[in-house]
Symmetry: C2
Subunit: 440 residues, 2 copies
């Protein structure tokens, strides 16, 4: 098909599609499944851990109710899965009732439905910087202004959040919600400390906003004490129900069944219900029944513990390899759980431009700029440790370090060349070079 | 929870949620599963036909690949399911290649993604009148102007479509697409004849629009010759690829796995791909692999034939019962396939107001007004014949006829009362009474 045909109906597209981009990870998917490549790019849990036998058991247990499993279900989900959701939330210390939980087609759909419920074009939202790229994709369809709030190793910085909200207020931008991944954040691997959770709630009260708490990784903790969810802290305070909590079975069971949930107050859930009817009518009964069967009959806590053990070993392998192989100008986070490490290269390096070279050397990562709405994060990368075995992680980081070093040397050579020549080829980026050229 | 809390965050909601309503069928779902009730309301295929044994076989066949079934998959779907989609489309006479098909979480998601791709607020779209309520729900999130084009027993009336488009053009409303369910339409049960399909394509060319062809029921034909899809007719003409075709496994396999597809040209699919990433990342690998296993290994055509036989018998039972029990002022369509009959009551009857009485008598239907964006269809109802056994359908229609008759008599009594009294209690509706009072 000639390329000219691709835009035949360009004049008919909605304005919103101009602001929407594909996620780098999704585009790379074909490349990343190439044999031989060590992919630190995906956000894949290790579904091999579940096992054929366990799968046979749960699918067998559903067979007797095949007619129901194959049928349409209620918009909000089956009673049985809502019971499971209530139990899982309780295990993380958050009280919820059946009426307050709502089944979604993955937490990703929760993000879409929350955005559909709250966002008019031009509305403001606060997100961590960097933030989950899939959330930016979901939100982009509703054309909000995304304001990134910087993080440090203790999570989103409350003073910066307050400042952004005050600036928006002065600018007349109605801010609808603050979006946060408080535990082992995607992509940064950072966890928001308890004190900051309380501060964030305080800020939300002050500005009368909703908080969207996206917590896919909370149970995948390798060390340290679990922290209360924002949802639980709000209950403790007896505050009005302003936290919209998003959960998922993708990380504690499996993503292939596409099942997550929203916990929110009934008024918000009512709007989300209407949105879901238009989006996909209902989530898969089959998925709901398989999950319910597993959580009711098997020791799901033991399974999560096993996963956590696997991921901890891989996190350790990644941190060790980073320390061993990376040039000292490279920095990275030390996640206490979850799936991701966030690495920051010298500011003059462009992780997007570097990716093809890395792939040619058989290692892949996600460049950082996809995790910002604006164009920041160019010298950063997200590294996943949940899917690849420890020895491969080690080899992958070794290869990646070679690519980084190569780029730093190239930069260093160019720098020397430009010092000899009449014009700098480095352009405006050269200000950031000083801290990077002492190695290479 | 006190009711006042329900709207605590009303001031934060997006404008779009004000224009979105819940589908009557979804709201009724709990009531309709009450034991003893004969529900002619749902749009449920009969999933009991599939059988526990067949379910065990396909889930067993997937177990060996459990790790993949439980994992995230590509946005557009697995290769294996795309092969199946190509095969199913070919069986309906439509050529498609792997690159032109895109997996969705039910055809409902296809509707959402198409709307997301094309609709800015205030854009025009043409829909049949009545049209699929779920499509109206999906579209409503993007706030279009819905223009209903009337149908007769040969489908959407082309002259009326042309007139609506000319009116929109004069009014400066950019019309993006025509939405049609050409076969055994939901809710009307009407099929668009071949000549009109060609005319509709001609009109779309003339106004340079997209046609969204939603074809969930095409294979469920009870009698007569299959008609070419609009997509196939367009290929025959060698025309530019302006038909966006929506298919689903819900009616030829099962809805509980939530899997459908879009077939469109690559430019449009690219936009849809971006939209899907934000909406739910990807559809369930498990669902895709179960379906692929069934379509590759079992005789799926024989299964569809069996379903068609079951539904034909039930359609016959419904048409016979309508003829036997309904007052002669009630009219209905005679579908050659699909799941639905559309009945029209005397114009002074309100099917929405009548529903609680019908449910009290243990029969349910969907009132007609949900199938119009505007408020038409009040005296109409959609009757489903695919889910309930023939004898129950007969009993359900008998009960329903009693309710209709009761209402007609009530009207007749009121009419006589008002003729005796000094003022008409019937109000402005009394003009339509003449044709209804000779019975009852």
């Amino acid at each position: 098909m000639p390329l000219v045909d691709l835009d035949r109906f360009d004049f008919l597209y909605a304005n919103r599609v101009r602001g929407m981009k594909t996620a780098a990870t999704r585009d790379l998917m074909a490349t990343l499944s190439r044999p031989g490549i060590i992919s630190l790019a995906g956000g894949f849990p290790d579904t091999r851990a579940f096992g054929e036998e366990a799968f046979r058991e749960i699918s067998g247990s559903v067979a007797a109710d095949a007619a129901q499993a194959l049928q349409y279900g209620p918009t909000a989900g089956l009673e049985s899965i809502k019971d499971v959701i209530v139990e899982v939330m309780a295990a993380e210390g958050t009280q919820a009732s059946q009426e307050e939980v709502f089944t979604t087609t993955g937490a990703q759909q929760g993000l879409d439905l929350v955005a559909k419920t709250f966002l008019d074009e031009g509305d403001g939202i606060l997100c961590e910087g960097p933030t989950y790229a899939g959330a930016l994709n979901a939100f982009a369809a509703y054309r909000p202004r995304v304001m990134h709030v910087p993080m440090d190793r203790a999570g989103m910085i409350p003073a910066a959040a307050r400042e952004a909200l005050e600036k928006a207020r002065r600018g007349g931008i109605p801010v609808k919600f603050v979006y946060t991944v408080p535990n082992f954040q995607n992509p940064a691997g950072v966890t928001m400390v308890a004190e900051r959770r309380r501060e964030l709630l305080e800020i939300a009260r002050e500005f009368d906003l909703v908080i969207v708490e996206d917590n896919p990784y909370g149970m995948l903790r390798f060390e340290g004490e679990p922290l209360p969810t924002l949802s639980a802290l709000e209950q403790e305070d007896g505050d009005v129900d302003r936290v919209v909590y998003l959960g998922t079975f993708s990380k504690i069971f499996a993503p292939g069944v596409r099942l997550g949930w929203v916990r929110a107050q009934p008024g918000i859930l009512h709007k989300i219900n209407i949105g879901k009817q238009g989006a996909d009518l209902c989530s898969s009964n089959l998925s709901q029944m398989l999950i319910a069967s597993f959580f009711e009959n098997a020791d799901w806590r033991a399974y999560v513990k096993r996963l956590t053990g696997i991921y901890r070993e891989r996190r350790d392998a990644m941190l060790d390899a980073l320390a061993e192989f990376m040039p000292k100008e490279v920095h990275w986070t030390h996640p206490q759980g979850g799936l991701f490490v966030w690495a920051t290269l010298p500011s003059y390096l462009d992780a997007t431009a570097m990716l093809p070279r890395a792939i040619a050397k058989n290692v892949a990562y996600v460049p950082g700029e996809g995790f910002y709405a604006g164009g920041n994060g160019k010298n950063c990368m997200r590294l996943n440790f949940s899917f690849v075995e420890p020895e491969k992680i080690r080899r992958g980081i070794e290869l990646l370090a070679e690519v980084v070093r190569e780029r730093m040397e190239l930069r260093s050579d160019l720098e020397r060349g430009s010092q000899r020549g009449s014009r700098s080829q480095a352009g405006p980026r050269s200000t950031g070079v000083a801290s990077g050229t002492d190695k290479g």
